[in-house]
Subunit: 463 residues, 2 copies
Amino acid sequence: MLLQYAVVANFTDFGLYSPVYKVIIHHMNIHMILLSGGSGKRLWPLSNEIRSKQFLRVLGYGSGGHESMLQRVFRQLRAEFSGAHVVVATGAAQREQILSQLGDFVDIVSEPQRRDTFPAIALATTFLHDRCGSPDDDVVVVLPVDVFTEQHYFTTLGRMCEVVEAGGAELVLMGIAPTFVSSRFGYMVPGEPADGYAHIERFVEKPSLELATDLIAGGALWNGGVFAFRLGYLMEIVRSHVGNLSFSDLHETYGTLEKTSFDYAVVEKATSVAMVPYDGMWKDLGTWDALAQEIGPQGIGEQLLSASTEGTVVVNELEIPVVVAGTRNLIIAASPDGILVSDAQPGSELKPLVDTLKHPPRFEQLRWGTRTVLERAQDRQDTAGETRVVELAALQEAPISCAMGTNLIMVCSTGRGSWTIGGDTRQVEPGTTIRVAGGASGVLYSGEGLRIVEIVVPNVENV
Amino acid sequence: MLLQYAVVANFTDFGLYSPVYKVIIHHMNIHMILLSGGSGKRLWPLSNEIRSKQFLRVLGYGSGGHESMLQRVFRQLRAEFSGAHVVVATGAAQREQILSQLGDFVDIVSEPQRRDTFPAIALATTFLHDRCGSPDDDVVVVLPVDVFTEQHYFTTLGRMCEVVEAGGAELVLMGIAPTFVSSRFGYMVPGEPADGYAHIERFVEKPSLELATDLIAGGALWNGGVFAFRLGYLMEIVRSHVGNLSFSDLHETYGTLEKTSFDYAVVEKATSVAMVPYDGMWKDLGTWDALAQEIGPQGIGEQLLSASTEGTVVVNELEIPVVVAGTRNLIIAASPDGILVSDAQPGSELKPLVDTLKHPPRFEQLRWGTRTVLERAQDRQDTAGETRVVELAALQEAPISCAMGTNLIMVCSTGRGSWTIGGDTRQVEPGTTIRVAGGASGVLYSGEGLRIVEIVVPNVENV
């Protein structure tokens, strides 16, 4: 057995709902593939084309701090699988944000284009096989990064690994105990329960509410989109789809792969598929009402609420205060991109409204820090130019570049560091001004951290 | 008669409510003193310590434009009295804003400190007597600048001048026809109506609602705080209070003057006092609900309201959009100073809440243009430094100054002009960077208008 574990709690009950065990993984032969999905504006103005919901640092953690969904999942994962190898499968646009939030503790497999879940998982498993040299017997767990769950969810992942290891099934899914009748999810109907798991008799995709009621009464669980299998099992399926490609070749030809889901390409065709149940909190937090409920009445950011204000949640990322007087059941969110004031149940009105906005995003989280647009001629329907502030964390390097036809003037307001453009290297301290001509590029290095104000101006021929 | 007028409409009815006349003033021997009151935060975040409600450009005018209460009163005044001399009596802090909004068409008499209305009017009349050399027979009208009225209000001012000219009374007030029973106003009980005016039998300050009901039934009018008199009449009263001081001496000793109202010092002691009635729109617009009603559902600034939103008024001074979904009866206002979301009837909760805010104002309107803070270390409880954008109108000059202990870096983003510091004068164009050392000062001149980003950084000893 490659997977070794220590039982630290009761192992007495192996029925379908028996969360009372604790597995500590001692070794490295387990790989977690976190699927970090695409961007969207459903949580505008916090989320935008480049900032997805999983990166929003809005979840309370510790004494007053906040973490993102990504950071929370990673922290929960590490608490359960201290030695596991973590790979984040994502689009190229998210790479910098993931590095900024998780540091270098993870591998990132960037899809050159967004396809569907099967190509994404195929690319990540080929990475494990080809680049990491992981043996076919290694266990792989695939899970979404934008779920909000209890620690017990991660204990359940351990149980899924066990079932794969013990040969209970080739493919093991997580079954989520339904908490309400829904026609939005896929349902899995279990067969006879075995040792803490059950083979799946059949899948029912998005049933009617009537059918869903019957399914739940019959013991069906929701498909949580979590999969465990041996690496070799999936590599065989991958080869049957794309041939025996190296990681580089698969990456190269990624855009030509068929857009198909893992459920369709793998799960529905699997002959030996089981599920391990999870009975606990499992939320999406992908809509404002769900997120606001999690954030709670204390809100985030600077705000003043009058005594008569009720059920109003404020998330304020700006430096200026939000003052609320006498409102009921509202969600108020302010970011560099805009201000939202919405009924606590925004429904379907919000997305089409936000989709009509033409402003490019003003806030970007990058590997080395953040970049925020402070004012932009385009947003005033004015002539060219913008002012932004970039903040580098300590000991980082950020690219300097200036588009043709413009000049960039950088002014250091706090911190120390240095910059290099061409062969020229100079020190940076508060008050240092750097002039970058159109087309030029270089590098900025932070020592203790740097705050730089950047002003982009149209290029004027100097006499 | 010094005052000459041309009758251009019916002059047939001289009863108390006879607005059907039109006076065109042909000469200069009439002076309008506009009382521009203090600052306040009741319209926060649009108004602040330095921006009073009368300066907010929120009143619809022409096709889509907006004007301030000050600009509206001045425009209405000019339409009625094209040749009248206008003096704005105000605190020193408002001088630049008044010049910016009215240009050089008015005289400004700045009180060195805020006292009450009698000292303010005494200073302005002494200015007329002493600095302008106006004769005692000239007619003076004093009116508040923060009223929202119809043009007919200004026709009524003309009628008040007539009554003074004709010797109907030494002091003539405007009586506002009550539109509801209120205990907030002063009431004036008229005697027998004369030629379009009436002597006042008695004043009743802030009566109970019961008494107010009786007063209104008996024909009493509200005291509108508008006064007309001959200059010599008031100068005698001023001398009886402060002696025969020159304007300079009065200005010098202004801080020692007793804080007393014009009503108390003059009106209540007058022996020959009449009123001319005004029966039309007369609003304060000093609270958010009144202002929002005037602005109307189309709001001001960039905003998107969902179809299900009701009764919500948005005023947005920022470059970023406000998106509203499904709210009812709200006032939403966003400015560089902050964001307000309030029930449409904010009541008394708002002011104490806003009074606790510690941020200094971020937006300033100055004679030459505007200055807006974009980011400020203080608001982040961070180290020193701030970034602001200054915009100069065409052909203006603005002072350059840099506080000790800091350096100021100015970067031109649009426009052309020049700057002078010490003996050094240089051209300014997009991309020009000006470095100002702590303690230095100079002048910036705009040609076609200038947009400058200013970065204040702590002073670092350069090696």
